[in-house]
Chain length 337, copies 2
């Protein structure tokens, strides 16, 4: 099996522990990689996304200010593990260069398409909706049209156009904590107008994802299809539990799910996942991956308080997803009604 993409020989990495049970995804031994109070006036950083940039790494981070309002902060790293987070939040401008700050901004994703870096986040658009901005230099961040009307969260771009169009996953939501939710995709010829919406997959029958699901990391192109790490949510008497799931989407028609793993790949077990502002959350937002070796590093928010890092290997995780794949008709159909 092969990742279709670039080499990344400085990807953060640890070998798989010999005693690993369950799915072939293992945590970095020094987790969390970002602890509480990482920057002045920022209480917690979590649910954040990273990318390779100029031989090093860059990231966009959900920083919960000490007043409780989340914004996005830029960070840099030499090794993808130790991060320097800017003290000032990312300053967004409109197409004319005028200030255009969101009222709040959370759960950012960072995806490069055709040499432009896009930040996608949850923004206030008279209700929770998707915000979108672009940068080429990580100095100027230009906000673009909000792709969808509310309510929506967990949007993530595919890293290349498909059939000539940009493609974005998103998860329609409600105005609150949303006790339901399926993943859809939408196409755009120009990143201004969006359409050809398709249902990708619904919440699962398995209990770990039976309340709702949502897009996580930007899908990874492989010779088996688009490898997608997403989150699935279970309901308990004491609230939601967020786990990481895996699926593989058709390469040319990604509203068609080829494989969907019935088991979670990672679920809250460690203290930094179980304890925090929102207990019991593993929330993937990005991967780094090396096309040469198939190594994959998964960045995930832990308990809305920390950033965690986990690893997997393409062959192993794809084989596991395929071996444990259970599909419904809603998964495999084209997703238009």
């Amino acid at each position: 099996m092969k990742i279709i993409g670039e080499a990344l020989n400085n990807i953060p990495w640890q070998e798989k522990p010999e005693d690993l049970k369950g799915a072939p995804v293992w945590r970095y031994s020094e987790n969390p990689i970002i602890d509480r109070n990482p920057v002045e006036n920022v209480a917690r950083i979590f649910n954040s996304a990273v990318m390779p940039y100029e031989g090093k790494f860059v990231g966009v981070f959900r920083g919960e200010q000490v007043n409780g309002v989340p914004y996005i902060y830029l960070g840099h790293s030499e090794d993808g593990i130790h991060w320097n987070i800017d003290k000032e939040k990312i300053h967004f401008v409109d197409e004319s260069g005028n200030d255009f700050m969101p009222k709040y901004a959370y759960d950012p994703r960072l995806v490069k398409v055709d040499d432009i870096y896009y930040i996608i986040w949850c923004t206030d658009f008279y209700g929770a909706a998707i915000g979108l901005a672009r940068t080429t230099d990580f100095k100027t961040f230009i906000r673009m049209e909000n792709p969808f009307i509310p309510f929506n969260r967990n949007a993530v771009l595919f890293p290349r156009k498909i059939n000539g169009n940009f493609v974005m996953l998103s998860r329609p939501s409600d105005s609150g904590h949303t006790p339901f939710g399926d993943i859809f995709l939408s196409e755009s010829p120009d990143m201004t107008y969006w359409g050809k919406h398709r249902h990708v997959m619904g919440k699962g029958k398995e209990w770990w994802e039976c309340v709702k699901i949502g897009g996580g990391a930007a899908p990874i192109e492989t010779d088996e299809g688009w490898l997608m790490f997403y989150h699935g949510v279970s309901g308990t008497c004491n609230g939601f539990v967020y786990s990481i799931g895996g699926a593989i989407l058709d390469i040319n028609n990604p509203s068609i799910v080829k494989y969907r793993c019935e088991n979670f790949l990672l679920t809250p077990e460690k203290w930094y996942e179980e304890r925090g502002f929102v207990p019991n959350v593993c929330f993937p937002c990005a991967t780094l991956h090396d096309a040469v070796t198939g190594k994959i590093a998964i960045y995930y928010g832990a308990a809305d308080s920390y950033v965690g890092l986990a690893f997997t290997q393409l062959d192993e995780v794809v084989s596991y997803i395929k071996e444990h794949s259970v599909l419904t008709q809603e998964d495999t159909e084209i997703g238009i009604r």
Copy 2:
């Protein structure tokens, strides 16, 4: 004041009663114009839209089948008051001519733009969303791309392009009975891809519309702006109450509200509005209007059981809206965040 549009000298009409109190909107004396069990296997018709067509009238009707599932039925009328409803539901096909029926279809609107008639309704798209189809002959009905991902209801097109784009109002919703809701608009160059979404107006401070609002009839172009009849919802201990409200939107930037009437224009008072499958509903879906005389006929669903007809006169209703206009900042701003 003037309606910008065509003459309609056969518009249904009754003069204003001399004893009318409140807003200058008066009911047809023979309401409801469509009673229960209008067609075999259809229990109720309501929330329906009409248009002039070839010197007579045509309409798309929400018909609640006796199994409780709503579909859209075509109807014809000589006078706009007495309607012949087809026994078979409208048969939709896809762009290739293949059958493409929605699982359900309700609250249709009917709007002509550039000589094409568009039906917009609430459809099942893995959740309540907006369905869209076109016809030129009322024989072949071709479904187009669903403009938005769920959850959404109460979409209505403007009757002409604005600044070169189609413009659609809609009301983001949730998966149930939606205890919130503002009106947004979206633009499209081609009716496939939609964007440049803007917030138009939020639920009102006045109690009659303090739960949610939603688009009603296609806006009427006037020299004062776009005259919009919409619905506003009040919450009571025994459920929602739906009234008809009025606002005037800027002609070139319709996300800007120029005037918004703090009083309802029509609220459930008559037996056919107060009693029925859903008591206490006046739900406007269409108008007929005559540019020569300024006469306006409003078609509205009554208690999810009947079709009602009401009348107003452009000068009077616009003057009333302006005299009782109360605006918030959210109403008057451009509606992008």
